[in-house]
Symmetry: C2
Subunit: 131 residues, 2 copies
C-alpha cells in the first residue's frame, strides 16, 4: 500500500503519516523506488493513533499507548492509569472553559451591543475581576 491509499484508509492526511514516521511512531518499509510501502499492521497502528489523537491523547501518550498495545504482556492497569490521567486533564480543561464561558456570558448579557461606545465587556476586561 502506498501513502495515499493508507491515508484514505486511516483517515489521516499523508503529511501527518510522514510526520508520524518522522517521529518514530511507525516504520513502514520502502520499495525499490524509495516509496513507502505500508503493511496492514502499519495501517492498524495509524488508525489506532488517529483514534487516540481524536480522544485528545498527546503524541507522547499515543506512543505509550502504542507500546502497550503492541506488548502482549502489558497490564491493563497501566493502560487504565494512563487513560484516567488523561480524563482528569480533560475535565480540568472543561472546568477552565466553563469558567471562561460563565464570565464572558455575564459580560455579554450586560452589553446592549448597539452603536454606542459604552461597553461592559471592555469595562470588565479593563478592571480587575471582582466576582
Amino acid at each position: 500500500m502506498n501513502i495515499a491509499e493508507v491515508a484514505k484508509a486511516a483517515g489521516l492526511p499523508a503529511k501527518t503519516i510522514r510526520y508520524y514516521e518522522d517521529i518514530g511512531l511507525i516504520h513502514p518499509k520502502r520499495g525499490e523506488n524509495g516509496y513507502r510501502d505500508f503493511s496492514a499492521s502499519d495501517l492498524h497502528k495509524l488508525a489506532f493513533v488517529g483514534r487516540a489523537r481524536s480522544l485528545g491523547f498527546s503524541i507522547v501518550e499515543c506512543r505509550a499507548l502504542l507500546g502497550l498495545y503492541e506488548d502482549q504482556g502489558r497490564a491493563s492497569g497501566d493502560v487504565k492509569a494512563l487513560a484516567m490521567t488523561h480524563v482528569a486533564q480533560i475535565r480540568s480543561k472543561i472546568d477552565e472553559l466553563r469558567a471562561m464561558d460563565a464570565t464572558l456570558s455575564k459580560l455579554i448579557q450586560a452589553c446592549h451591543g448597539d452603536q454606542r461606545p459604552d461597553c461592559p465587556i471592555l469595562a470588565g476586561l479593563a478592571k480587575p475581576a471582582v466576582g
Copy 2:
C-alpha cells in the same frame, strides 16, 4: 516603570511583555540606557490583554479588543459580536471535550485495570468507533 515592576503589577512574565511589544501590542518608550520605560497606560493595556488572554481570547482577538478599547467611538455591538463568536468557540470546545470524556469514561469503566493484558481501552482504540 521598568519591566519587572510592570510584570508584577500586570501579573505577566517579563518575557511575555517583551513578546507583546515584539508583536506590536504595546509600544513602551525607552530610557537613555535602552531600558523600556512603561507608562500607566502601557500597564493598563498589559493588564487588559492579560485578562482577555485568561478568558481564552487569541492574540489576534486581543489586538482587536485593544483596538476597540482604545477607540472612543467604537460601537459596543462590535465588541459584543467578537465576544459572542469567542463564546461560541469555547462552547464547541467544551462539547468536543465532553464527547472525549464520555467515550473515555466508558472505556475506563469497562477496564478491570489489573495485571492481566486484556484491555477494553486498547480494544476500543484498535477498532472503529461503534457508538
